[in-house]
């Protein structure tokens, strides 16, 4: 059964990759937006935000944009699933003798693979505009592993949202309504010190901030945009990020699989 579960999930993942092969535009669009963000932030804000960071704003910016981009996995997973629901494809999958988690697990795999590709393209774009991580191959790789895992954890929230909302357009709006404030009310693009007190507090505990701080640390950059208070998350960004990711997965993997099983029951 377990073997089949994995084999079934792989078939679903392959289907997603096949979609990309059949419609290459999809691939272009999913990579073009993050690249555009890199360029816009680098050249629009980069010139006016003063930092004493060696190498300039782009060193602080890239971890922020990486985290923001993988955070959008939540919405893209949810939209993909909601579309499958609407088209009746999920009904068909559910009428097949396949293991109950395979369909959603397969989708999270597919979105994770897509994330790897998007991260690679962004890293190249960042490199082109002056991003130079200085911490060595090991730490940089660990940073990307963190990003990859963060995207994967959020993908599971996306599964839950997609199964609950079931209308791709609603999911899209909800996705933006959640993801935008979360990524901007953080240390990703600007110092949190400029925010009102309540928002500073929020930003301090925002998982996005922890992730950005962790990536900055792993890429060898001092986190000049966070750590206003001496709160635990800002002192221990790696641990906090890891805890957030594990917590999200521990909650949403069983919840989503259960939801999938009971959908429309």
């Amino acid at each position: 059964m377990v073997n089949y579960a994995l084999a079934d999930a792989v078939v679903i993942t392959k289907r997603q990759l096949l979609q990309l092969a059949r419609i290459p535009e999809l691939l272009v669009f999913s990579t073009i937006q993050p690249v555009m963000f890199v360029l816009l932030f680098r050249f629009v804000f980069g010139g006016s935000i003063q930092t004493d960071q060696p190498g300039g704003y782009v060193q602080l910016l890239m971890p922020g944009i990486f985290v923001q981009t993988v955070a959008f996995t939540l919405a893209s997973t949810a939209i993909g699933l909601a579309e499958d629901m609407k088209k009746g494809l999920i009904d068909r999958f559910r009428s097949l003798p396949i293991s109950r988690g395979a369909v959603v697990i397969g989708r999270t795999f597919g979105d994770a693979l897509l994330n790897l590709l998007v991260l690679a393209v962004m890293a190249l774009a960042g490199f082109a505009v002056g991003w130079r991580p200085t911490s060595g191959v090991m730490k940089v790789s660990l940073g990307f592993l963190f990003l990859f895992m963060f995207g994967y954890a959020l993908s599971w929230i996306g599964i839950y949202v997609g199964l609950s909302v079931k209308e791709a357009r609603t999911v899209q709006s909800v996705g933006f309504l959640v993801t935008f404030p979360l990524t901007f009310l953080s240390n990703a693009f600007a110092p949190t010190t400029g925010m009102p007190r309540a928002l500073q507090y929020f930003a301090e505990w925002n998982p996005v901030s922890s992730m950005v701080a962790a990536c900055r640390q792993l890429f060898g950059v001092e986190n000049q945009f966070g750590a206003t208070a001496n709160s635990w998350p800002s002192q221990h960004p790696l641990e906090t990020s890891l805890l957030y990711m594990l917590l999200l997965m521990a909650i949403f993997i069983p919840l989503s699989i259960k939801k999938y099983k009971n959908t429309s029951h």
Partner: protein, 323 residues
């Protein structure tokens, strides 16, 4: 396949989609569940196909309880819904191979089967095109092909021709008739009365979540009344024809402008008799016919309303959103 006393409500009991519905289909036969939108057809299929749990009642497929052993049931059934439930961005071939793999067939076996099914449903030429370029009829055929991967013992077709043009419908009927010849047990829902007439051994008419009549198409028609002899002539001849028809029928005749009609017991005999009488009287009929009641008449006489959308089926309403 048996469904007993199925009850399913939505919106906390406010909408009663199935209200004590029972039906059974004998192995190797075709039952058509006929009813207007909102009658509970899709809900019935979804329960039998393990997608939905009834609030109460028992459903078994090939002797297996669908609520208790959905996995076992899923190995025996094929389901093709109102919407082509395939991945539209992929090609027909991609889809069939994927479904083969999901049925745990080997790679080569899946490929062979996909080629075979495409051939059988006349889709070979379009095999390598994305489904979104397919016509409605082609999509339905591919969807049906996808439900036949493991040669299901029991097949559910939920409104297989809704939304198709006449040609697409005829092609679909042909495909379904071939399947039935192959011995599959089929439950087919439809809101087209002629479709049930054409394809089914037995018809269960449902309305408001209940079976209100069942039997063969002929039996249902008899329930409503026998045949009527109907003759249309030039206005000058109406009186004379009325005389002839009354003699043959021995019932009251009905005259509607130039058309005279009356119930007859021996339809074919009455028709011959009428033709002879007309010929002897040198009357040239504009039209002469033996009219059997249509299933529309059946529906009207059973439910007191014509077959039309009466309530919003919660299942359909939610399809856009929930499913």
């Amino acid at each position: 396949m048996i469904a007993e006393n199925l009850i399913k409500t939505y919106d906390k009991g406010k909408v009663r989609a199935l209200d004590d519905l029972s039906l059974d289909v004998e192995e190797g036969t075709v039952l058509s569940v006929l009813g207007p939108n909102g009658a509970g057809k899709t809900t019935t299929v979804r329960i039998l196909a393990t997608l939905l749990r009834p609030d109460s009642g028992v459903a078994t497929v090939a002797g297996i309880d669908v609520a208790k052993h959905p996995d076992k049931v899923r190995k025996l059934i094929g389901l093709s819904g109102q919407y082509a439930a395939v991945d539209e961005t992929l090609t027909g071939w991609d889809n069939l191979v994927m479904f083969g793999r999901l049925h745990h067939l080997g790679k080569q076996q899946s490929i062979n089967l996909a080629n075979e099914l495409l051939e059988r449903f006349s889709l070979t030429d379009s095999a390598r095109r994305a489904i979104k370029t397919y016509s409605g009829g082609m999509r339905r055929r591919l969807d049906l092909a996808a439900s036949l991967i493991v040669q299901p013992k029991v097949l559910f077709l939920d409104e297989p021709t809704t939304g198709l043009d006449p040609r697409g419908r005829m092609e679909m009927w042909k495909v379904i008739e071939e399947l039935v010849m192959g011995g599959v047990t089929l439950l087919l829902t439809t809101q087209y009365l002629d479709e049930a007439d054409q394809l089914a051994d037995e018809i269960a008419v449902i309305d408001h979540g209940k079976v209100i009549a069942r039997g063969s198409s002929d039996a249902l028609k008899r329930q409503v009344g026998g045949e009527r002899l109907e003759i249309t002539v030039e206005s000058d001849d109406v009186a004379k024809v009325q005389e002839i028809v009354t003699r043959i029928s021995r019932h009251a005749t009905h005259v509607d402008s130039r058309t005279v009609s009356a119930p007859v017991s021996n339809g074919a005999g009455a028709l011959i008799e009428a033709l002879r009488a007309l010929d002897e009287s040198k009357i040239h009929p504009l039209d002469i016919a033996l009219k059997r009641p249509s299933l529309d008449d059946v529906f009207l006489s059973l439910t007191g309303h014509v077959a039309e959308e009466t309530v919003i089926e919660p299942v359909k309403k939610k399809r856009g959103g929930r499913w």
